[in-house]
C-alpha cells in the first residue's frame, strides 16, 4: 500500500515482484517534485526518469520569470516596444490562456503578475488602495495584442505563466514517461499530480487532498489509476495581518486576494485543465461551488468556514473510490 499526500510519500511496501520501483525527488517549479514509477527494466526506468526530469526543467527554464533569457522574460522586456513572434509551444499556451480568460469572464489573467509587486508576502504588509488602483492599470489580458502568432504588450505590462506552466509540465512529463515505455507511475510537481496507469499489481495510487488547516494531514483520499489532480489552496503562500488572511491568489479585477475558498481540487484528464479550473474557481469566491457544478467538473472544495462541497463521487470522509 502506498499513501501519497501532497508533497509527501509514505511507502509502506512499494515492492512488486518483477518490477523495479523508483521514487525520484528533485526540486523544480518552486517546490519539491517527485516521480514514483514502476518498470520491468531498471535501466530503461533510469533513462525515462532522466528524460522526464529534463523535460520539466526545460519548461521551467523556458517560462521562468526570473531567468533573463527565458521566453517569458523576452516577451516582458519587449513590452511597449515591439511585438514578438513566439514558437508553437508558447502559441499553444497563450491560446490556452486566452480561452481561460474568456471562460472565466476575465478572472484568469496571465497579466495579473504585476500585482505581486505590491503584495509582498514576505513582508506581510497590506498595500494601500491607491497603490492597488495604480497597479491595476497594467492588468488586463484584453489590453494585450495577441493574433495567434505574435504578441504585443503595452508598456508596463507583463505576462506570467505561473498558473499554467507547472501543470503543463506535469502533462509533458507524463508523455515523456509514456513514450519511454513506463506504464505505471505517479508524477508530483509540487502538489500537481498526474497518474500514469495503476500500479503493476493493478492497485490504484492513493492521493490525499491536503487539509487546508492542517497541511500535513489529508481530508480526502482518492484512488486514482489515471487522470490528473491539481489543487489550489489559501495555505500555499499567505500572510495574516490584523487577523485577516491574505493569500497569493489575487483577483485581477479588484487587486485584492481571494478569501472565500480554503482549498479546491480538480480532477480531469489533463493537469493543465485541472490547475486552471482550480484557480478560476478560487477566483469565483462565493460562486465557486455553483460554477464547478455548472461546468460538471470533478471537484472537492472546502470554504474558509469549513463547509465542503464536492461533485458526485467525491466525499468528505474516508476513501473516495475513484
Amino acid at each position: 500500500m502506498l499513501i501519497i499526500t501532497f508533497n509527501r510519500l509514505e511507502s509502506l511496501s512499494g515492492q512488486i515482484a518483477g518490477y523495479t520501483q523508483l521514487s525520484h525527488a528533485f526540486k523544480a517549479m518552486g517546490g519539491p517534485c517527485s516521480f514514483h514509477l514502476y518498470h520491468d527494466d531498471p535501466q530503461a526506468l533510469h533513462l525515462a526518469i532522466q528524460l522526464a526530469e529534463q523535460e520539466v526543467l526545460r519548461l521551467e527554464k523556458k517560462y521562468s520569470r526570473f531567468l533573463e533569457n527565458s521566453v517569458i522574460s523576452k516577451i516582458n522586456q519587449s513590452a511597449g516596444q515591439h511585438s514578438m513572434t513566439v514558437d508553437a509551444e508558447t502559441q499553444g499556451l497563450l491560446n490556452y490562456s486566452a480561452l481561460c480568460f474568456e471562460q472565466s469572464d476575465g478572472l484568469f489573467d496571465i497579466t495579473s503578475g504585476v500585482l505581486n509587486k505590491i503584495w509582498d508576502f514576505k513582508a506581510g504588509k497590506v498595500p494601500t488602495q491607491k497603490s492597488i488602483n495604480a497597479c491595476l492599470k497594467y492588468v488586463g489580458f484584453e489590453k494585450i495584442q495577441w493574433d495567434g502568432e505574435s504578441i504585443f504588450l503595452p508598456k508596463g505590462m507583463q505576462i506570467d505563466f505561473g498558473g499554467v506552466v507547472k501543470e503543463f509540465a506535469a502533462d509533458c512529463a507524463l508523455k515523456v514517461l509514456k513514450n519511454a515505455g513506463v506504464c505505471s507511475g505517479l508524477i508530483d510537481l509540487a502538489g500537481d499530480m498526474t497518474v500514469l496507469g495503476s500500479r503493476p499489481d493493478s492497485s490504484p495510487w492513493l492521493v490525499g487532498i491536503r487539509n487546508p488547516n492542517q497541511p500535513d494531514k489529508a481530508i480526502v483520499t482518492l484512488q486514482m489509476s489515471a487522470g490528473a489532480i491539481a489543487t489550489s489552496g489559501y495555505y500555499e503562500r499567505y500572510f495574516i495581518a490584523d487577523g485577516k488572511r491574505y493569500c497569493h491568489i489575487i483577483n485581477p479585477k479588484t487587486g485584492w486576494p481571494v478569501a472565500h475558498c480554503a482549498t479546491i481540487s480538480i480532477i480531469s484528464d489533463q493537469c493543465l485543465v485541472s490547475g486552471s479550473v482550480a484557480t478560476i474557481a478560487m477566483l469565483k469566491e462565493g460562486e465557486a461551488a455553483e460554477w464547478l457544478r455548472d461546468i460538471e467538473a470533478n471537484f472537492y472544495m472546502q470554504d474558509r468556514y469549513g463547509s465542503y462541497y464536492s461533485s458526485h463521487g467525491l466525499s468528505a470522509t474516508g476513501v473516495a473510490g475513484l
Partner: protein
Amino acid sequence: MKTVLTLLTLVFALSACTTVKPWEKGNLAKNNMQGSPISQKTMLDNHIYFSKEGASGGGQAAGGGCGCN
C-alpha cells in the same frame, strides 16, 4: 425481437443516469474484470462444452465445427 428492443432501451436508460469518468475506470480495466481473463482456457472450455453438450453459442458468433459434434 421485442425482448431485444426492451433490453436495449433498458441499457440505454441505465447509461443516461451513470457517468463513469475515464479515470474512474481503473477497476473495470483490470484483467480480472474482462469477459475471459484467461482467453486460451475459455476458448478450450467452450470447445469442450460445444462438443459434449446439447447446447452451444452465446458468445461471439460461433466459429467452425469439428467432427466431435
